[in-house]
Symmetry: C2
Subunit: 166 residues, 2 copies
Amino acid sequence: MKLKEAKAEFIQTWGALGSSWGINRTMSSIHALLIASKDPLSADEIMDYLKISRGNVNMNVRALIDWGLVKRHMIPGERKEYFSAGKDPWEIARQVAAERRKRELEPVIEAVSQLQKIEDTSAEAEDFKNTLAQLEDFTRKVSNTLNQFVKSDKNWFFKKLMSLIH
Amino acid sequence: MKLKEAKAEFIQTWGALGSSWGINRTMSSIHALLIASKDPLSADEIMDYLKISRGNVNMNVRALIDWGLVKRHMIPGERKEYFSAGKDPWEIARQVAAERRKRELEPVIEAVSQLQKIEDTSAEAEDFKNTLAQLEDFTRKVSNTLNQFVKSDKNWFFKKLMSLIH
DNA sequence: AATAAATTTCAATAATTATTGAAAGTTTAA
DNA sequence: TTAAACTTTCAATAATTATTGAAATTTATT
């Protein structure tokens, strides 16, 4: 297999993965393209490679920057902006975990916690309150654990990962 | 807050969560309804409560069964099928982790592993191979860890979770 | 300040994904 | 074996989500 083909397939694979994770295909394709690329790319290069419009590139690159997965570069003497993505899988996972915790887990904890204020005292109501309490407890534990990952350094993470397996 | 309201909001919250995780809103709403419900429900009851069509209930309940999140009940003397969902968050998470590992992580490992067969030996090709190798290694580690979770019992999981935090 | 280069926005449109509902298929019971 | 009760399928349609592209805006250069 040639380098070019491999990169094209990687972009394809990564794009499909993203879409099964609720991230849109174009966003993950751009991310993959930048991961696979030695040097930062301009909007024009991304448009050209992925055959998508300027507006689309702009919106999805912005989203990637929001997620902390891509950064802007200003090259001295150039007017254009360039974009690059970090290549370390652990850093990528950490960034994604941090954002999802904030965006998805925290709101659930908040909501489930509020819902437990049920006035009824029927057996059914008590049961449901109990289900919610368990859910809150579980979600808090997961959220705390993720938070540790996010704040930890790479070696700590791998050590723990290994300790889980053995 | 009354029990009915709380259940309605829970269904709402859980539905929204699912859709940010690439699971469709109706599927997670049905799941939430069954979690919140004391007894198993029939297709008609689900249709009625969520105001969705029979076909939609059938398809999404089937998907939930595929995911191992819902089971069928036959009540003796009744013609209808009834459905229920497990209420233990740990069991739910385990089931979801098991399925996603199989459906999403394993194919990525396979794909990334294949992609490393790049013939080129330019510095750029070597760099990219290296990125892929790191990605494969990371994904394998995550996959193994998830697999441990999946095979483990509840207490083991919580003990490990706690050991990570402290 | 005028111009050029690049970026951003967003209404229109295209593409995708979810939902309906009626017909076909199955199962159970008399 | 017929009919009623229930489930499944799937083509048509609705709803949602992504994409385009041209106009508006911003930023840099002369």
